[in-house]
Amino acid sequence: MSELDPAPAPAPAAGADPLSKAYGSLNEVSPDLSVLHDLACRGSWLTILDKVIQARPHLSKPHHHLTYFSYNLLSLIKLRRFSDALNQLDSLDHSLDSPNYLYQTYPKHYPNQCGSMVPFILRVLHAELPAKVSGNSRQETLDRLYVLLEFVRGKLVSDILSSTSRALWEKRECFVINSIISHHLSLKQYGVCLDLIKYLIQKSESDGEGDDHKLDHRMGLLSKLGYIQMQYGDLDGAKATFGLIENQVDDRVELRNLVGRNKALIYLVGKDYVSAVREYDECIERDGNDVVAINNKALCLMYLRDLSDSIKVLESSLERIPTMALNETLVVNLCSMYELAYVNHADIKKTLSNWIARVAPDDFDSTCTRV
């Protein structure tokens, strides 16, 4: 990253304001950013790695390097090449808070800008990487995430933020807390998860009624709270939580499906799989892309002793909406069903894994087929 050392840059053409139209498109923010974003959305992480290597010699501004660095690091982590990712992160010449990563350090490049040009994702990946490298380092990751949370909150108390910037930092606070919850969840530290979700819900309520997004956010949080309660066995608690959601939703399909899926879960834990399947069917009727409903419906069919149909439900979803349905959990379920249903399940799983190899994104974890 030596390219990032302060260096004289070509002076902007006199007279014209070079920045007035500068950031109207992604490619004006960084070269080929639009392509990178597109590749990332398609899960073409191997292509991104190649592209970063090709592009690096041609990058002209300090922040270009950090953006490409971020795409490179994210690709390595997505591809589960964690030790390469660790080496990459170590190769960074400066700490993320170094003046080398401030716009004002390069007045010729950024005559009117100040602040950090570090993409926020770098801080997140820096925090997450220890747990990815080794399950034993989860505590280190949690510590780093809590430090990151303090950092974000420090930003939020400053009064120089533009309204766009403030909204982004608020999202980031929420994001970091959600990430923290995810780690506590995998450590089965449910008490702290409940406290953090409570904080998030109260915060979203204090922000006022707001728009659809805010309502969706709150309903999403409550649903997740209900899942967590169910996971550790508090069925009454989960029912009460789902009840709060039903009282607040409007008529949009996403919310009706959320309520429908929650109802199905209540039936499911009560072992009324027939009613659960009926609820899931209504969800799938409203939104054919509701993969959660599809996956969970298949499981209910299996608990109803209908292994053949449960396999059909999952297989047809992979055929019909591959980019939506293809996820590791659904494949794990399908393979468990194959193992039970077929003596020659190895051949069938091989066929599935060949199909996956053709259509799956680069970051798909193919070990889930257990071939």
Binding site: Y23, C41, M117, G288, L340
Partner: protein
Amino acid sequence: MSGTNTTAATPGGSIGPHALAFRVMRLCRPTFQVDTTPLRFDPFDLLAGEDFFDDPIASDNFSSLKSAVDSQSIGSDSSADLTYRTRLLLDQPSDAMGIPGLLVLPQSFGAIYLGETFCSYISINNSSNFEVREIHIKAEIQTERQRIMLLDTSKSPVESIRAGGRYDFIVEHDVKELGAHTLVCTALYNDNEGDRKYLPQFFKFMVANPLSVRTKVRVVKDTTFLEACLENNTKSNLYMDQVDFEPAQNWGATLLNADHHSSEKGDKISEVFKQPTLIRSGGGIHNYLYQLKMVSHGSPRMSVEGSNILGKLQITWRTNLGEPGRLQTQQILGSPIRHKEIDLQAMDVPSVINLEKPFEASILFDVRLNLTNQTDRLLGPFEVWLSQSGLSSEQVVMVNGIQTMALPRLQAFGSSDFHLNLIATKLGVQKITGIIVFDTSEKKTYDPMLNLEIFVDAN
């Protein structure tokens, strides 16, 4: 039955290749998939520097950049989306929690514990290229002590299973025994040559104890306290549904809870966020304290002779997605109830006795006592004296005059008052101990353990 959940055991005790094979999956409840760090982000945390939008020009362009990002990632029609953007971009902030609501089937046989329900999906597969007929299927659980039939189709056999076909069933069994269990699946069927074939398959598993319960009983005056310490020996956290003490006939029980400090009450959210009672896996403990009181039925003096049973604990817990478990302890015994046949109570004891003259060596005083017969028969006559075998070398309080006092007989549940004339020889707080009551007809000595204190003051 370890490793992957689905198992095809090696057929034991059969000869030759079989057309049929059992495949078994333990069917406990599914689990919510938790993806720690789903690696999904807000696009602007990746596309630009974190303070990029502090710049007014950049900020002005935010909405056009955002729509560029959205249109690119969502496309014009979301149902035709052929990207994997949901693996990268957050739809909602809470997606970062990594619990999308997808359920996953049990991935290992796992441990099974006393009080749980063993549930299993059993699939009998015909892997041959011919149809088998007249299939008698049986599934039973064998333990060291018993065999429990879970399924038996011999009365109405499965007519046929086609080549490549299956016959599925689900069995359930409440686990009430510890130790080795074997799920035995057998099939008796006709193959293509009309030969009757017998296929037995065995699936072994161990049942362990989920909880250890330690109890302590303490008696404070009339009240008995029972402390129960529950230790979780399982590999999952236990959500304690109910830990109820079911008292024996003569007892009433109240669970004592520390007052929970609740600063915010009333609102719906706080209701929802009640902290659950979870006992952590692998040795976590939780203590319960019950206050037990004798319930009087009719005569307070009646008691169940020889019984010191307090009652038993009924414990129900839940784990993953509400998978239930229940256990009941054996009868918990209290300290043996020493039902006293006679009772001696002090009725009137002078609180302060003044030595009237400073240098007087001793003073006489009276205490009034009450002796009660607590049995339903005649007792006595009695003799009462002050035992001299106290630990103190010097006897400070003594009986004045005749050392042994005679008392008449007492009717069933009868009582009588009497005076004891005592003499104190020393200043200060003095204890009167060792009053012995002797039943002269039954030749039985009672030590009523009556301890009195007097204060001998110098005037």
